[in-house]
């Protein structure tokens, strides 16, 4: 029994991981293919990378996406943390159900609905009060903050609800005023959740095509929008190169984060 079970578990894992990684690996391999065709191996080359770095459109879209994502992640952490705090700490107030529902809604709403409703609202607002003037980076950021803060709220909420209430009581008992308790006790303890929330917000924003397509205007083209329009036309070696760079950056980040986490737990165990 003990001999057979690891075998089929091993098979399941091997199959699952090759399913997850083979497509990504082919992308990486073909990003170094000199030929434009997928089926033909034209020899090793880095020419697509060189072309990628000369592609003004992609570079400016990347820069725009990074700015939007950083802004989104920061605002989403603030909003999401406040929302989580409200949900965990204020269990009794009128319209709490409405609030809880609104916080969770973006988790279950299809992106097309978020995008469409965002756009229709911006159009209506502009007609009614003249703000926002046209659509672009600001409107994309607002729409992204709205849906990413739900994810941040979930992460922070789970951390906050594990937090021992007597820690706060102890701090107050020792003379710290409520706001000080928040900044000196709660914030440092939940900071890993805030960092995770920020990274998640950044990634979700960087990755979003659908919402951005709805709420952006002329002149504001994010990276996924550029990739999408070139991908619709078929396989593009430059996108392969871009994909490879993204995988490398993300993998490095995840490995560093994992290593830091590992080191931290080891130090704690000592």
């Amino acid at each position: 029994m003990t001999g057979r079970r690891p075998f089929w578990l091993f098979t399941a894992l091997a199959f699952g991981y090759s399913f997850l990684y083979l497509p990504i690996i082919t992308l990486i391999v073909y990003s170094f293919n000199d030929s434009r065709l997928v089926t033909v191996w034209g020899g090793f080359s880095t020419r697509w990378y060189a072309e990628l770095f000369r592609n003004e459109q992609i570079l400016s879209a990347l820069w725009l996406s990074v700015r939007i994502a950083a802004m989104t992640a920061t605002l989403a952490v603030i909003l999401g943390t406040l929302a989580a705090l409200t949900l965990v700490r204020f269990t009794h107030f009128r319209t709490r159900m409405l609030f809880a529902g609104m916080v969770a809604a973006p988790l279950v709403m299809p992106e097309v609905i978020l995008g469409l409703s965002g756009l229709l609202m911006f159009v209506t607002l502009e007609q009614a009060i003249g703000w926002p003037p046209g659509r672009g980076m600001t409107t994309i950021t607002i729409a992204h903050v709205t849906f990413t803060s739900a994810f941040v709220a979930v992460i922070v909420q789970s951390r906050l609800s594990q937090l021992d209430v007597s820690l706060e009581e102890a701090a107050m008992d020792l003379g710290a005023r409520p706001w000080k308790v928040f900044f000196v006790i709660i914030l440092p303890i939940i900071s890993p959740a805030l960092i995770a929330g920020w990274l998640l917000g950044f990634t979700l924003s960087m990755d979003d095509l659908v919402i951005a397509s709805f709420v952006s205007g002329p002149g504001a083209t994010t990276l996924p929008m550029v990739v999408y329009s070139s991908v619709r036309l078929g396989v593009s070696p430059q996108v392969n190169a871009l994909a490879t760079l993204i995988v490398v950056v993300v993998a490095t980040g995840v490995i560093i984060a994992g290593w830091l986490l590992h080191r931290q737990t080891r130090r704690r165990d000592r």
């Binding site: 699952g16 990684y21 406040l82 700490r89 204020f90 609030f99 973006p106 409520p178 095509l209 078929g234």
Partner: protein, 324 residues
């Protein structure tokens, strides 16, 4: 020892209330602090989440018009200085009558349900394998599941285009080993849509499953074996029921976004793989029919809310059952 009569416990409700009292005091002794915490997210969500949906609802009752924005207003000054309320139900009737929309809804639900089951079939053994792997390996295996999620969703879908297309890698491989004589039509098919959804959402299935499986007390299985239960039966009667919360969470995380999916059917699907997210997109961007797009969105929300409420009802019944 004579311990004396046990004093009666105070009502369970009081402990709940006590937690509330504690909470109120800790961060927000004053009303000001409390208001400051609630106001910002509340206002944001009202303005940028609830209001937009109400606007969509409103526009779904309008008619398309050659104007900017391209729909008729709901409130209009009629000639005799009276305010006329125009509610136009035509869009919904149109959705119901045109087989295209109804078909798209049903197809979306079918594709999402089948993909969810496929994800479960592939994801459960993987989650089980990771949870039972040596502790040192678990974190690495888990990272490997999460890693693709952090890379671009769009690019992961794109990766399949190169593999599936007529002159793509898979056809090339099959032709060269002589399994087929002419390229298979893999891309732009329902098959490709299923593949894309399973591939993209598999991590969402594995993570909650892993979380419940790894928390499971393994002595339960030892107890089952001790009581004469063979491993496969122990799996069916102990492990599987205990991992149900993970199964439900994972299924919802796959099913719900899959229903409204746009990118996958757009890039991998064919003309017959109509999904509602794509219909909405086309209606809006190509036909520029905002009222119909709004009606499609409202109907889609309803379609998604129903299974959600159902699951929540089941979850509630289970928790009250536990308490009893």
């Amino acid at each position: 020892m004579n311990a004396g009569p046990a004093p009666p416990e105070t009502a369970g409700a009081s402990s709940l209330r006590r937690r509330f009292d504690r909470g109120v005091k800790s961060l927000t002794q004053g009303r000001l602090g409390r208001a400051a915490v609630i106001a910002l997210p509340y206002a944001w969500l009202l303005l940028f989440l609830l209001l937009p949906i109400l606007i969509v609802l409103k526009i779904s009752f309008a008619e398309i018009a050659l104007a900017s924005p391209p729909y008729t207003p709901m409130l209009q000054w009629a000639e005799e200085r009276t305010l006329a309320l125009q509610v136009h139900l035509g869009n919904y009737a149109y959705l119901w009558q045109d087989p295209l929309y109804l078909g798209a809804y049903l197809n979306s639900l079918k594709v999402a349900a089948v993909s969810t089951i496929l994800c479960l079939l592939i994801g459960y053994p993987m989650a089980y394998g990771i949870a039972r792997a040596p502790a040192g390996w678990r974190i690495v295996l888990l990272m490997l599941v999460i890693l693709p999620f952090w890379t671009s969703f769009l690019i992961r879908v794109y990766a399949w285009i190169g593999l599936l297309q007529g002159n793509g890698l898979i056809n090339h491989l099959l032709l060269s080993i002589g399994l087929i004589d002419q390229p298979l039509v893999l891309l732009h098919s329902n098959f490709a849509v299923y593949l894309g959804i399973v591939y993209s959402y598999l991590p969402f299935m594995i993570l909650p499953l892993y979380a419940t499986l790894v928390r499971m007390d393994l002595t339960l299985l030892e107890a089952a074996a001790d009581l004469g239960c063979p491993p496969w039966k122990a799996f069916l009667t102990v492990t599987l029921p205990l991992s149900m919360p993970g199964v439900i969470a994972g299924s919802l995380l796959v099913f719900i976004p899959a229903v409204g999916e746009f990118v996958i059917p757009d890039l991998l699907g064919g003309p017959d793989s109509l999904m509602i997210g794509k219909v909405l997109w086309t209606e809006f961007f190509s036909n520029r029919d905002w009222p119909v797009a709004a009606a499609v969105a409202i109907a889609m929300l309803a379609v998604i809310l129903i299974p959600l409420l159902l699951f929540q009802r089941i979850g509630e019944r289970e928790t009250t059952g536990d308490r009893r």
